[in-house]
């Protein structure tokens, strides 16, 4: 069945076909990061929210610190697992420069956070007060997250992702100007909240037809 034999298309039908196929390809190939951001958003929001409520360093702790610690560990493990799944799915069947860019970007997160962990653990062991160490961790994590979203925005010409990066950097500054446990509230509301807002915007945008 060669479709050449079919009725010739009119110019209108042809333009409509182009629009339809373009939209479909965009949906299929362009992976929407909404769900990925939502997973991270929930992990940050719930985990850091509980940490704030546990009020580390105060005598009036409402519940033991191990509860938020476990929730954070489980949430982050799930989010990292989902990120890896998302990353491998995104480039399915595609070969070439954008695949390489995606792989290198994925590794940027892993390497960036590995480096940050080494630096912060070392500095934390120099006799810093524990609350300063806490600010070091929150500020640097938000900053690195922000910078990586700036880079992601630059790679994929995605202004929303770049905007999320700017927001995370502003949050990083806000977190070090607050004191413990306020920094955990910044991680929860600005960090987790930022992810969730971005996820909502991507969801709305993904439903809207047209525009690549």
């Amino acid at each position: 069945m060669d479709e050449d034999d079919a009725e010739p298309m009119t110019a209108e039908q042809s333009l409509a076909l182009i629009a339809r196929q373009r939209e479909r390809t965009r949906r299929e190939l362009g992976v929407n990061p909404a769900r990925l951001l939502a997973v991270w958003g929930v992990a940050w929001f719930v985990g850091w929210g509980l940490m704030y409520l546990a009020r580390p360093g105060e005598n009036s702790s409402r519940f033991p610190l191990w509860i938020p610690a476990v929730v954070l560990a489980v949430g982050f493990a799930a989010a990292i697992g989902y990120s890896i799944y998302y990353g491998t799915r995104a480039g399915r069947g595609i070969r070439g420069p954008s695949n390489l860019a995606g792989a290198m970007y994925g590794w940027s997160w892993t390497l960036g956070y590995a480096g940050l962990t080494v630096v912060n653990i070392r500095i934390g062991k120099t006799g810093l007060p524990w609350d300063t160490t806490s600010l070091l961790w929150t500020g640097s994590s938000l900053l690195l997250t922000g910078v990586l979203y700036l880079a992601g925005g630059a790679i994929w010409s995605d202004k929303l992702q770049f905007g999320l990066g700017v927001w995370m950097i502003v949050s990083a500054a806000a977190s070090v100007f607050s004191s413990v446990p306020g920094n955990f509230l910044v991680l929860c509301l600005c960090g987790g909240g930022g992810f969730l807002v971005a996820a909502a915007v991507y969801t709305v945008r993904g439903r809207r037809p047209g525009r690549g």
Partner: protein, 107 residues
């Protein structure tokens, strides 16, 4: 209207199946290629049908087909050539002109 006649439509692209293939390939970033099964899945075409149309597009040098090996498994990679990209642009422009000449959707 004008005496120039109607714009010519590229017969290679002006066929439903090949138009869809070209549009799908044009969505990839320049330099990127797609595996045959993924393209087939994207277009929901049978392998035979897709091969036939790809061959015609390849003959016109709109599409480059490369056979490679990944972990000893043969893969067929399909990519739109620069020529193919330009052809699709010109085709789309011709359609618009055609609509203008025939009075916006009267034809």
């Amino acid at each position: 209207m004008t005496e120039q006649g109607l714009p010519q439509l590229d017969p290679v692209i002006h066929a439903q199946a090949r138009l869809r293939v070209t549009v799908a390939l044009a969505a990839l970033r320049a330099g990127d290629s797609i595996t045959f099964p993924r393209l087939q899945q994207l277009l929901e075409m049978t392998a035979g049908n897709l091969s036939t149309h790809l061959r015609k597009l390849e003959d016109a040098e709109y599409v480059r087909i490369t056979k490679a090996h990944e972990h000893r498994t043969p893969v067929t990679l399909v990519e739109l050539t620069l020529r193919g990209r330009v052809a699709l642009d010109e085709y789309t422009r011709a359609l618009r002109r055609l609509l203008d000449v025939t009075g916006n959707g009267q034809g």
